[in-house]
Symmetry: C2
Subunit: 454 residues, 2 copies
């Protein structure tokens, strides 16, 4: 398909191309544009039917949008912008350099311009920043038939007509009627009799993550957004909520891997930008690991005597780190799904301690068997070591205690972080690993001192 289209462009067979593209989906066409030679992009874009062109435009990334806007005449620009929904227009302007943004705004009428500027002013992570201002509003004394007339009149320009909002004269939200309710009720029924007054809504300044979670919880198709005076100012549609979910998950996963969240997709993020997102945590964790080094230094002299102990350091550190990050990642995900709250901390601890106990018994046992059978009997790596059994004991005891401590630290830090207003996702593997490393070495050397004699 894609090759065929690129071939048609090459051969300048635009009428065949037009027929082909007209049958395709906007999202798929936008993907194909990424493969088209830069100089051909405006030409190919111009052969798309007007409405499809606008849909394709919305699906493109901001670099390509800018390229097109710069190639557009003022008339073309106005035509594309006229087809867009308000939230998409705002998103596009938000991504453009100031001069391009100004040119777009110049093509809109005063009313739209005021609306756009208002939407641009909402904080980046707020409900206001993802809402659109085009929705169906009804009055409570309308009949179903009157409601249908209104939908037919303004429905072309609203992103969804499936949820209709009933407001009073000061735009206060009174209730919600779904198009399904309208359709399944008699034509002369009055809206106030069929509207649902128990409306789920958000405030313009609410976190957009909360909005996305509510979509999932209540199975919504659209969510009304009200201002401080409880006046309806816009709606968020489910497709935008899904985009927020996706972004938030990516952000959480990045934070869990000690990366500062980035705005763009992998290849759209420059090398230096990626570097800047990764280096702060790497530096911080490198410096923190110095403490672990200091713990080893403090035990250095004894390590030169019991050199066999050094070889177990990576295994103890890694197993502790893995155990801790299993607990922390599970808890972080459960917090973001709303399954765990601060009040659950004791229940979480009690569960993790029991899980940790099972894990540590199992790990210590397997390790003891492996050290005895494989290392001691088969490979004879302990040959001539008079402390062989003491060392095996120390390693297994340390493993046992480290896993339990790691799980406790791993499950409690994210919950505490959340309580203190930090992002729990930051308390994931890397930070937990650094903390658990230090703890496991302290445990290891304490057992070594106690058993082998200080």
């Amino acid at each position: 398909m894609e090759e065929k289209i690129l071939e048609l462009i090459e051969q300048r067979k635009f009428s065949v191309l037009k027929a082909m593209l007209s049958d395709m989906n906007a999202a798929d066409i936008a993907l194909i544009f990424e493969e088209i030679d830069e100089k051909d992009i405006p030409v190919v874009f111009r052969i798309l039917p007007k409405e499809l062109a606008a849909d394709v435009f919305v699906e493109m990334d901001s670099d390509m949008q800018q390229l097109l806007i710069e190639a557009f005449s003022d008339k073309e620009l106005r035509e594309v912008m006229d087809e867009l929904f308000m939230d998409d227009t705002v998103d596009i302007i938000d991504e453009m350099p100031a001069t391009v943004a100004k040119r777009i705004l110049k093509q809109t009428d005063a009313n739209t311009r005021r609306m756009i500027n208002q939407l641009l002013a909402y904080p980046d992570d707020s409900a206001g920043s993802i809402m659109t201002t085009e929705y169906i509003d009804l009055k409570k004394d309308m009949t179903v038939d009157m409601a249908f007339d209104r939908i037919r009149k303004i429905g072309f320009d609203t992103e969804t007509i499936y949820a209709c909002y009933v407001t009073d004269n000061s735009r206060k939200l009174l209730g919600i009627v779904s198009l399904k309710d309208l359709l399944l009720n008699p034509k002369d029924e009055v809206i106030s009799n069929i509207m649902n007054e128990n409306v789920i809504f958000v405030n313009t300044l609410d976190d957009k993550e909360k909005v996305a979670n509510d979509f999932e919880k209540y199975d919504l198709l659209a969510m009304p957004v009200v201002d401080k005076e409880n006046r309806l100012v816009g709606i968020v549609t489910v497709d935008d909520a899904i985009d927020v979910m996706k972004e938030e998950v990516t952000e959480d996963i990045e934070k869990m891997a000690a990366i500062l969240p980035s705005e763009h997709s992998y290849f759209k993020t420059g090398v230096f930008e990626t570097f800047k997102a990764r280096i702060p945590w790497l530096l911080l964790l490198m410096i923190s690991a110095t403490f672990t080094g200091a713990i080893i230094s403090g035990f250095e002299e004894k390590l030169t005597i019991y050199a066999g102990l050094i070889a177990f350091i990576p295994m103890l550190m890694d197993t502790g780190g893995n155990s801790g990050s299993q607990a922390s990642v599970t808890v972080i995900r459960s917090i973001s799904l709303g399954d765990i709250e601060f009040s659950d901390i004791l229940r979480v601890l009690w569960k993790e301690i029991r899980v940790a106990f099972c894990c540590s018994i199992c790990l210590a046992a397997v390790n003891a068997i492996k050290l005895f059978l494989v290392d001691y009997l088969m490979l004879k790596t302990f040959r001539g070591d008079p402390h062989a059994f003491a060392e095996i004991g120390i390693v297994c005891l340390t493993l046992f205690c480290t896993v339990i401590v790691a799980k406790i630290v791993g499950c409690s830090l994210p919950i505490l972080a959340k309580k203190l207003g930090f992002d729990p996702a930051v308390m994931a593997s890397p930070l937990i690993t650094t903390i658990v490393d230090a703890i496991s070495l302290i445990i290891y050397f304490s057992f070594a001192s106690a058993i082998l004699g200080a």
Copy 2:
């Protein structure tokens, strides 16, 4: 709110309670049921209005559903089941023990029972397993007015009426009409003129993750599902697609933390079940870390001479591990978002090498400065060590090389895993850490041997 309700139950004020619950949302009521005393649950459930009761039932977890089903009379059970959509019924039956499932099936008519059994047979991760069989089907020679009649007739029992599907007499899918199209077109317009023939659909056996991704890509509200003969057999609605997205993300995050995916939420998963999900990777990684230990053992004698080198092992291992997991997690997420494919491997490598170069220069420089200023000059930890500068050089060189190798390993393993048909998420932090640990020690000891003399 919640306390008030629990108080009303305590005081047996059921009529006040009924009025209060009737105004609430099903998802919120289901959450409150979790707090109600087990013996009161059937009583409180019975005071809910019939339709709301069914909605609340769907939102409950399977333990509570089972408790209620066991308390229901056959008549009550039939009433609740009659209100449910097919996909919810199937989900519930799927979670119940065999005897309960049989009892539910006995309350349904032969036709429904056949349908349920058919849906139960689809593999767990297939589109068929999440679809519902109740949708609006139209014929292409109907007028808009006839379509509305049909929607009014069967709309009560379908999960969505906003997407209508046009089929021929053998149920082959011909096109799709949205309710918006129907409403904004004249009443005597024929469906075949307004239907969109470029339908996005999936096969019953397609992976449900693909279905969820398509919802996001094409901004859909519902997706038709066809069988091998291209006959329409059901639809997936956006709320179910969102649930799949959520599950898949949780599964990915768990895999990245070396946990086998679990089916239930945190507190619903038993201690032993959690143990079973965590222990396999812990064991595997513990055994793998033995190789790292073996590398240290091989260098043991020299380490007793240059004991100062031991203290840097945790820092080198951790920084390598963190650098590698940053790259691997970024790449894993980009693969699951569809931003990176196997053919991109060279582009990814080229980007990661440049990022790694920036990171390693920066880390090595900071480390050199810190070791010289803080450790050498201020703390004088190298006091009396004739090899102080050589050791600082070895540590910084190792850091430099380890970070580069870690990023290369971290970014390429997930892509290779995907190519070989494994889940890339498994190639996340823990496995990368273990691999990078070994590599970083080999680099470290090689530099040490070369510079300090073998």
